[in-house]
């Protein structure tokens, strides 16, 4: 501290979180992860490493899956941020969340919020994914508990559920 000549000034950053506009007073380089967890009490986004490797902190920023531990607060000014807390709508679980329950995709659960969002991202890009697409799409989300098999099953279960629901919707 004593050797640092730089002095950051707090600034107001405004962005939408799960559809609601929020303004936080923060230091500019504070990690989005900490802003969500500490300033907005959205603790569903987890920290597993703080170095972009594990994906526990995954959120969507402007529709892209990103690691919130690597994003300085000032860079989300005007952005749209979506977290695990915004996935279930009106008390109803998202198909991917239901599939994780059904197929055993969560064990200790610490990777789960990030993993669920990564799975949502896979299914947005590939509604009917191949095994390889699932593996590649989830490769940035480490899980130490499950060995991934039940997570793959969860993604496939969700894909089917979404397809049959959409099918019904179209019919």
């Amino acid at each position: 501290m004593s050797d640092a000549e730089a002095r950051a000034e707090r600034l107001a950053v405004t962005f939408t979180v799960n559809g609601v506009e929020k303004t936080v007073e923060t230091l500019p380089m504070k990690r989005l992860l900490d802003v969500l967890r500490e300033d907005l009490a959205l603790t569903g986004t987890k920290e597993g490493c703080g170095e972009g490797e594990c994906g526990a902190c995954s959120v969507f920023v402007d529709g892209r899956l990103v690691n919130s531990c690597l994003i300085p607060a000032l860079q989300v000014e005007g952005s749209r941020v979506d977290t695990i807390e915004g996935l279930a709508r009106g008390g109803e679980l998202h198909a991917v969340q239901r599939a994780f329950l059904e197929a055993g995709g969560a064990q200790c659960g610490i990777c789960t919020p990030g993993m669920v969002l990564a799975a949502v991202d896979v299914l947005r890009k590939h509604p009917n994914p191949t095994d390889e697409q699932v593996r590649e799409g989830l490769a940035g989300n480490l899980c130490r508990c499950t060995g991934y098999m039940k997570i793959f099953d969860s993604v496939m279960t969700a894909a089917l559920a979404i397809a049959s629901r959409d099918g019904e919707g179209a019919a």
Binding site: L93, G104, L138
Partner: protein, 753 residues
């Protein structure tokens, strides 16, 4: 009422986990909470000569704790009492905690920690098993042997002297492994003189922490309370170290006058400072008849315990007991030592020493097979244990296991024999850029504490009946992802005859639940689960005795009975305490007898394809067949196996702890490499259940077994692919390359490197 045992009942706390609502320790915020950090030694061995605080910091605002501030005993209560909470004088390993700081401003206190300097007069340090044994530097008693076991059966020396036997020798090594639960460790404490100590945290064993905190503050049972927060994985890693962190957070709070103090490790600190799997070296000498029948095994099993005794004795014990493998061998001698070094203490990690010795004996079986000209399968089939046979501790195998049939199931599922033949053809093709191989391992793993351990623990579980026939299980066994809450609810609901949804499991809190023992050693389902069943059964018995319930009942009848009981007596809680199954005899002095009440048995097969350009072994398939007794919840059990197999894949192929002067230098996820979703092969899990008479509904343990066999199965497959004999894990591409080049050089091919 339909039984829920045997069905894949949904995870109890599942909804909270998939929605992000589950509260882990770092998610908890308390009024007035401040943040604690730990200042650690940089050197491996030395005497503290002073602690210097850089000027320019508001030190008067920061809570500072050193060993001098400890109100009680500065000693972590474990097996041996030799590890301090804070080093006072002597430093025995890198990253040993020395000073604690706390402040409301987390950024400030983290920065302050960089400005505390521990001045040390360095002493010579040792980092290998051999240097430990040489004992030129004394770390523990005279010989640096933290613990030693000798397990003998028959007459090994006489057996080796018999004529006509083939003798095979080998030495095998395994590296340290980081548990890498994805939630780093953390604790919150509130502590003050007169008010006692309460901690919330990420932990596996609430009563271990409880036991460690009492002497630290000189407090009694009722003055210390330990509550488990939702815990993001443990795998053994949160068995002993949480006691230190709880102590640290509590010391800070104590000094700060009782404000809540939160200590959360970041990943780098968690990896560099906390325990890992013990590195090991195993030397095996085997005498075998020309037809492949094992006659004698002489095993020297050494592990690096690190600077303090912690749990090394029990890790060593389990590793040693399993070290002769699941084979019939009339004469065996296992000499096992845990050796002190200046590494941070190694500790509990899924498998508890057994994966280390299993890697050695299952690689060694390939050498034995080669020596007598048998196949990998034939040598095992010939020697596998069966009912009535004696293990290395002279325990009679009681499980009615048909091990050869279990092996066949794995071979068939993986199409083993056909693949061996097809791969041999593929590998002979000079145009191919890969080499393929398939390997097998057979092994077993004891459930519960070793020997008399369960008797000493004398675990207790309670069940509390609530209005409307609802019930709450009271146990200190923790949910760390493996499914404790779910299987306890299944077992209790069946025993009560009520729906699964009616049962809940109380959050482990030493102020509220009895001590059901630690959540380790594959004991939660088999041992504690049985107590849950008995305690729940006692509720029914009590209601019957009170004349409120008939011989048969519906859930509604039970609900009515409970309601009348509660009206009459106020509360209904039943407890059940561990009693050893009859006929279990164990001698702690000779290490002979029934080491475990029951074993899990398994045959695993790995298929690899090695890239000849990069020497990377790619796993193409994995088959895991096992007997874990009755399967309480197939989905959770398969999840346990898949998770264990994947951790073992990491240990076998990727995970190398790199040390410099006793300190882990790759303590980041970018260079400590665990498998991602793209690195695991399809894992095929099958169960071949043989119910265990003394387990709940016939269940045994599953947690650790899947960690044991994959590494040797994988390295055996690499040997099948390339004809190289790799004797250590991880078998990194660099290791495979060196073996391939050495083999080519031996064959007289030109060499560049």
């Amino acid at each position: 009422m339909g039984r829920t045992v045997g069905t894949s009942a949904p995870r109890k706390e599942g909804v909270d986990k998939v929605t992000g609502a589950a509260r882990y320790v770092d998610d908890l915020v308390m009024d007035g909470m401040i943040h604690g950090v730990t200042v650690r030694s940089r050197v491996a061995h030395g005497r503290i000569t002073g602690i210097r605080f850089d000027p320019g910091f508001p030190w008067d605002e920061i809570v500072v704790v050193t060993a001098a501030d400890i109100p009680g005993r500065n000693m972590v209560t474990m097996i041996e009492e030799d590890q301090p909470f804070l080093a006072a004088d002597l430093i025995k390993h890198p990253e040993e905690p020395v000073v604690l700081l706390a402040h409301a401003d987390r950024d400030l206190v983290i920065e302050a920690a960089k400005h505390v300097h521990i001045e040390v007069e360095e002493l010579p340090a040792i980092f290998s098993i051999d240097d430990g044994l040489a004992a030129d530097v004394r770390l523990f008693k005279d010989d640096n042997v933290l613990k030693r076991f000798l397990i003998e059966k028959g007459d090994v020396d006489a057996a080796f002297a018999e004529p006509g036997l083939v003798v095979v020798e080998g030495e095998y090594e395994t590296g340290a492994q980081e548990q890498l639960y994805l939630e780093a460790m953390g604790m919150i404490a509130v502590a003050a003189p007169g008010k006692g100590v309460t901690v919330w945290g990420s932990l596996q064993c609430p009563y271990y922490v409880h036991k460690a905190l009492k002497p630290l503050f000189g407090l009694g049972d009722g003055e210390v309370r330990v509550i488990q927060a939702v815990t993001g994985g443990g795998f053994g890693g949160k068995e002993e170290y949480p006691s230190l962190i709880a102590g640290h957070a509590a010391l800070l709070s104590w000094k700060a006058g009782g404000v809540p103090v939160k200590v959360i490790y970041d990943r780098a600190e968690d990896m560099v400072a906390t325990t890992k799997r013990h590195p090991s070296r195993t030397r095996i000498r085997t005498a075998v008849k020309p037809d492949g029948e094992l006659v004698a095994m002489d095993v020297v099993f050494d592990i690096d315990g690190g600077a303090y005794a912690t749990l090394s004795a029990v890790v060593l014990s389990r590793g040693a007991i399993h070290a002769a493998g699941p084979y019939r061998c009339p004469n065996s001698r296992i000499h096992a030592r845990a050796v002190a070094t200046n590494h941070p203490p190694h500790g509990a990690f899924r498998g508890f020493g057994a994966p280390q010795s299993c890697f050695a004996y299952e690689r060694h079986m390939e050498r034995v097979a080669e020596a007598v000209g048998l196949s990998s399968v034939a040598i095992r089939r010939k020697n596998l244990l069966g009912p009535g046979d004696l293990t290395a501790t002279s325990q009679v195998v009681e499980d009615q296991i048909d091990f050869p049939a279990l092996l066949d199931q794995a071979l068939e599922a993986s199409d083993f024999e056909a693949k061996r033949a097809a791969f041999a053809k593929h590998n002979a093709d000079p145009a191919s850029h890969t080499r393929k191989g398939i390997g097998v391992a057979t092994f077993y793993h004891g459930g519960g504490f070793t020997g008399s351990g369960e008797v000493h623990l004398a675990s207790v579980v309670g069940v509390e009946a609530l209005r409307g026939g609802r019930a709450r299980v009271l146990a200190a066994s923790t949910e760390i992802g493996q499914g404790t809450n779910t299987i306890f609810s299944q077992i209790a609901s069946d025993a009560l005859g009520v729906p699964y949804e009616w049962v809940e499991v109380a959050a482990p809190d030493t102020g509220r639940v009895p001590n059901s023992g630690p959540t380790v050693a594959s004991r939660t389902c088999m041992v504690v689960g049985k107590l849950v069943q008995d305690a729940a059964g006692a509720v029914v018995t009590t209601l019957r005795k009170a004349g409120l319930l008939g011989e048969e009942h519906t859930p509604e009848q039970l609900a009515a009975a409970v309601d009348s009981y509660l009206e009459r007596f106020g509360e209904l809680r039943t407890f059940s305490q561990y009693k050893p199954p009859a006929g279990i005899v164990w001698d702690d002095k000779t290490y002979r007898g029934a080491a475990y009440a029951a074993y899990g048995w398994a045959a695993y097969v790995a298929e690899v394809e090695v890239d000849l350009v990069t020497y990377e072994p790619h796993l193409r398939g994995f088959w895991a067949v096992q007997d874990i007794g009755t399967v309480i919840n197939p989905l959770l059990a398969a999840g346990q196996v898949e998770g264990g197999v994947t951790q073992a894949i990491g240990w076998a192929l990727f995970e190398e702890v790199r040390w410099r002067e006793g300190r882990m230098i790759n303590n980041q996820l970018t260079n400590y490499i665990i498998p991602t979703a793209a690195d695991v092969p399809p894992i095929h899990v099958a169960f071949a259940p043989v119910p265990f008479a003394h387990g709940p509904s016939g269940a045994k343990g599953v947690g650790e077994l899947p960690m044991d066999g994959p590494a040797p199965a994988i390295v055996n497959a690499i040997e099948d692919a390339l004809g190289i004999d790799v004797r250590r894990v991880p078998a990194l591409p660099e290791v495979v390359m060196e073996a391939v080049l050495a083999k080519r050089a031996a064959a007289g091919e030109v060499q560049h490197v």
